[in-house]
């Protein structure tokens, strides 16, 4: 069974005809070519697929594309203002060497932004570590990811994002 789906992705109206069982992540990657969102597991635990739906972080491997009907989706490709002006979280990841192979990075960045906002830009190390529960990284040992998120929180507040 195929079905029409329409939503806003990174500020652009998009639509497509998909099999009803199509996951949001498949719609983003395969129909829209937004391959920055990754799939690292099949049990909704690794967090490589995290995107924002209506401003909140969600695991795009765990909802159907049709469930995002009419929603506003932001992916890693939609974060930076321009190639020269990254989002403060992206910038903090670069400054703090919070990525190595880069595979978990898009999900980490998207989760981290929501984490900062959820905590009203006030974070401590223990909170960051606890709230990263849903994002796995095999390269960095998390050390520099934690540093990056702690550095990004005030930068996001200052930038008003």
């Amino acid at each position: 069974m195929t079905i029409n789906v329409a939503m806003t992705v990174n500020g652009k109206a998009v639509s497509g005809r998909v099999e009803a069982r199509t996951l949001l992540v498949q719609f983003l990657r395969e129909h829209l070519g937004l391959t920055g969102t990754h799939v690292g597991c099949d049990t909704s635990q690794c967090g490589a697929c995290v995107v924002h739906l209506d401003g909140k972080s969600i695991k795009s491997c765990t909802i159907l594309a049709v469930q995002a009907e009419g929603g506003k989706v932001t992916t890693i490709e939609g974060l930076a203002e321009s190639a020269d002006k990254l989002h403060p979280m992206q910038e903090a990841f670069r400054e703090n060497h919070a990525l190595q192979c880069g595979f978990c990075t898009p999900g980490m960045v998207m989760s981290a932004i929501d984490m900062v906002k959820r905590n009203n830009y006030q974070l401590d190390e223990a909170t960051v570590r606890r709230e990263l529960e849903g994002n796995l990284c095999r390269c960095t040992g998390y050390h520099n990811i934690v540093k990056a998120i702690l550095a990004a929180a005030p930068a996001m507040k200052a930038a008003g994002v």
């Binding site: 930076a80 670069r94 192979c101 595979f103 990075t105 990263l132 095999r138």
Partner: protein, 789 residues
Amino acid sequence: MTAETGIGARVKRKEDQRFLTGTGRYVDDLPLARATYAYFLRSPHAHAKIKSIDTGAAKAMPGVVEIFTGADMAAAKVGGLICGWVVKGKDGEPHKAPPHPVLAVDTVRYVGDPVALVVANSLADARDAAEAIKVDYDVKPSNVELGKALAKGTPEVHAEAPGNLIYDWELGQKAEVEAAFAKAAHVTKLDFVNNRLIPNAMEPRAAAADYDKGTGNYTLWSTSQNPHVLRLILSAFVLGIPEHKLRVIAPDVGGGFGSKIFCYNEETALTWAAPKVGRPIKWTAERTESFMSDAHGRDHLSHAELALDKDGKFLALRVDTTANLGAYLSTFATAVPSYLYATLLAGQYTTPLIYANVKAVLTHTAPVDAYRGAGRPEATFVVETLVEAAAKEMKIDPAVLRGKNFVPHDAFPYQTPVAFVYDSGNYQPIIDEAMKIADYKGFESRRAEAKKRGKLRGIGFSSYIEACGIAPSQAVGALGAGVGLWESAQIKFNPTGNVQILTGSHSHGQSHETTFAQIVSTKLGVPIENIEVIHGDTATTPFGMGTYGSRSLAVGGSAIVKAADKIIAKGKKIAAHIMEASAEDVVFENGTFKVAGTDKAVPLAQAVFAAYVPQNYPLQELEPGMDENAFYDPANFVFPSGTQICEVEIDPDTGMTEIVNFTAVDDFGNIINPMIVEGQVHGGIVQGVGQALLENAVYDAETGQLLSGSYNDYTMPRADNFPSFKTGYKVTPCPHNPLGVKGCGEAGAIAAPAAVMNAVHDAVAPIGVKHVPMPATPLTVWQAIHGGK
């Protein structure tokens, strides 16, 4: 002009922009026109005869393009997968080498053994069709318990390996060791389980294969750490495709940790099937498939004994190990528990006599091969746990006991009793620095304070050595390796002065695009933004051996230096011609050729331009162009060393272990980019701690099912399992490579399991608990403390 971006600087990574903006290109991201999708039907049984496979109904399913089975590949006379390192046993015979079909033919030997390849128009169609394939299995009893693999009556995995024994191998001085034990004042004995691990790079393995009918060329995109080696194996041993007709591309790869070194069934089957399908075929492992079919790591059972004199001087070490290789021999499986393991049993110490006996065995489990550290973590775990236990038994401070036995700084180069000649090192200042950072002196007061809170606090050391920078070709050839382990580099200037570095190494997180650019920026004085590092494509890069064994900088970086030296040598001749001077009088400094004692100068960029527009140019003696190749074969392994100190607190009521402090001080030789090195150390520590406290691959003894086959069941390290780490460095440059570098990729994972387990044992010792098995999960710790209660 390059101080901020050259050797030693904390340069931000060149690769980050694309990874941070979602524009990296991993295998699964490739847009391939008219692609088909592959799904592998896998064995649900650990051991069964295949009585029949009926693909009829499946082939009639919507969207199905082709279905292939082992019988199809056998009929086409496709070769099996190979093991590329011959280890000779005590009897002088090469190891047993049972066949390794790409798709199972008449027998399946582990849960996940691929049985059929379904190719369809969509992945969903392929999966649906795979469900409709009817395989009639005659299920047989299986053998998944390492401790029983060699026992009489245990089911055999392959008839070619009677009794499941692949080799019975030894290294060292057996008789002398026995004699030393007979007169020892003290002997420490321990039994070890080195738990089985599943690598879990965050990007699952993936492959895509395409065949161009017009040229007869194959292209394979693979999540490979070594695309040239993969091409060589597929060409020469498995598929028989001429090497020059197969292009292997390993684009952005999301972590490897060893598990992406090997030539796997899936990429082989896809390459073989591509011309038959006539369209590109894509495959990406589901995480469950990764758990089942990526080569696993570790999995040793050992008994080891250390003999000491009355003052605590080590007299001899003997180790007896059984190593699990799984159901088939993976590409380098045989080398890991032999030459990459027993050769490291001297550790940082002067132990004069060592004897190791290793039996490598088959079980009905996934193949086992190199995983971050590969043999060296297993050796370090044996040595460092024994040393710490000996210190406790003899009531000597563990740091003091280590210090008594360290190879002294003035003894290098140092010949160990187990083959290696350590090139350099200075161990005492490392452990001193680690104790300072970790505030070792203040530990007892922290322990007392923890006790007031009802917590058991412990501290543990691990002083590791590793042999990496793999490896001198002749040395490893003498030990059975089927390949040379040099590395290649090409430095290619363009007429406008920017530079491409083509390397045979491969980066899947290691940051070569930055580190290698820093080397060339310093050597040639080129701004780093004008340098690009290219890797991972057999069509564009020179033949290279790839990335594993912490070799990329020590071997690949050295090749780059050699190529840069050739650029300078040629540039000198060009500049001499332009300046009308003798080449002998020309010096190269900060990117400019100068004639000493004059104000004559030619920037490198001018010499490069002259090389491409050779009008005022010594064409009689020099070819145009500025493009130099180099190959570097290392003179020796490199030997990074270090000490980690781990401090834990255990809650005796729950068995929960918390890492409260973790210090690592390392000697990696000279450091090109400290930021990147620290990242490697952090990641390694977490994998090592993961082994010690969290991770464990478990097969059900009865059914042979993989019980830890998803992130629900296999505990991955998470951010809240750790504190921030404290790191430090000491530097003794490597004396035999041009950068003086050693290698940092595996150190953390090599040292950490012993540091953690020593801390756990220290924590529970005051309440009389002698042994906690690894991994020290809350359950095992609780059981160790409370016994049957």
